[in-house]
Amino acid sequence: MSQAKLKVGVYWGASCGGCDVAFLDIHEKILDVIQVAEVKFWPCAMDFKYKDVEGYPDGYLDITLFNGAIRNSENEHVARLLRKKSKLMVAFGACAHMGGIPGLANFWSKKDIFASAYLESPSTENLQKIVPQVETKVPEGTLKIPELYENVRTLAQTIDVDYTVPGCPPNPEQIAIVLGAVASGKLPAKGAVVGASDKAMCEDCPRKKKELKFKKFQRRHLTHPDPEICFMEQGIVCLGAATRAGCGWRCIGSNMPCRGCYGPLPNVTDQGAKILAAIASHIDSEDPEEVERILDGIPDPAGYFYRFGLPLSLLHRRHLGDR
């Protein structure tokens, strides 16, 4: 008798779908995966309904790979449902891990976002000023849509998570490794970050490094960086010093600085604070006014340092005060 296949669920919360595509980026290895795994839920790619999942007994799925942040009531409802139905819950990709790009919404309030999306954007013509409502009464009855939350949260800030696979998207090779580990029963300790290194990107970065001193910061899109030399030494802010390795140098190799999608290193709570310290400490000046002038070269420090990690960061969101 052949061994029972792993029952796998895949779901997307607030995400772009790139993580779902990453599964297909393992190319023909997907044939190996379907030898050991059977998809029981994957709304992006296959026809399953929520009620199918509701019908599964508790703990029926061996593993759920959840990508996307928690941004509305539907994301949260399905996350809780899948937690109940899954033996293992994996936060898959930067959004589930840290909030990701959707997490940048935490720089704004829900009101700001609605105003921008439905009222103020130049391409919008909304004379009746209609904004989505959770409930709408129509002659046939009441229509309901999920409620957008004030804050974007990570998966682990919402439900109990067993493992985290970082990346935007995770390196496809890591997916096979994760499923392989589950199939073989060789599981790491709960809470582990799987499919990434415990070292910083800089540690094995192939670029040449000499001495780091900032006299001036440059923005990537306004320069032609030397592909052989450390970005930081060329004055371009790179998050490699505060980011886990394991991505396969996708950005660095394309002559783009690290954006930090693999998240903070082990035992680090706040990735942004770490890169801030690393960068500022190497400014080549002891004169406060000159330091300020040099810092003008980083126009949006919070957005840059928390590009993927705002909801996971210590402050979680921009403080709006009484606004």
Binding site: R153, A273, K274, I298, P301, G303, L314, R318
Partner: protein, 147 residues
């Protein structure tokens, strides 16, 4: 009840902390709002500490170090001098007023200056009012993931 600001002070062992000691042994009176954390050097204060202090409910954070050129470790305070301006910019982007973070150079012999800085800073933060970070409501401590 009137608002009493909660302030966390990270003071370097060699200068500002000793300056605070001098203020104390000289029986100078100053506002009791600062909770002091002694660190070996202002350069030891990772920006994480400052963010954590705000996250845990501080209304203001004070950093005290040796005057530039006087660092016990030669250049630790110069690192602080460079980091704090960037940290202030980050805090501003995060909706926290720059005035809630203050860096001061106070030497071991400047008890009076310590007294003055504390009193000034407490009034400065009092004027800004309570911080009440929204995250403290949105994410009670238990649910904050540390991974």
């Amino acid at each position: 009840m009137s608002f009493e600001p909660k302030i966390v002070g990270f003071l370097c062992n060699w200068c500002t902390y000793t300056g605070a000691d001098l203020a104390g042994t000289s029986r100078m009176k100053y506002a009791p709002n600062v909770r002091v954390v002694r660190v070996m050097c202002s350069g030891r204060v990772d920006p994480t500490f400052v963010l954590k202090a705000f996250r845990e409910g501080a209304d203001g954070v004070l950093l005290g170090g040796c005057h530039p050129g006087d660092c016990h470790y030669q250049s630790g305070n110069m690192k602080t001098l460079r980091r704090i301006p960037l940290l202030k910019r980050l805090l501003k982007d995060m909706g926290i007023e720059e005035g809630r973070l203050r860096l001061e150079w106070i030497s071991a012999s400047e008890g009076e200056r310590y007294q003055r800085v504390i009193n000034e800073f407490v009034e400065q933060v009092r004027a800004l009012g309570p911080l009440n970070l929204e995250v403290r409501k949105a994410l009670p401590k238990k649910s904050q993931a540390t991974a």
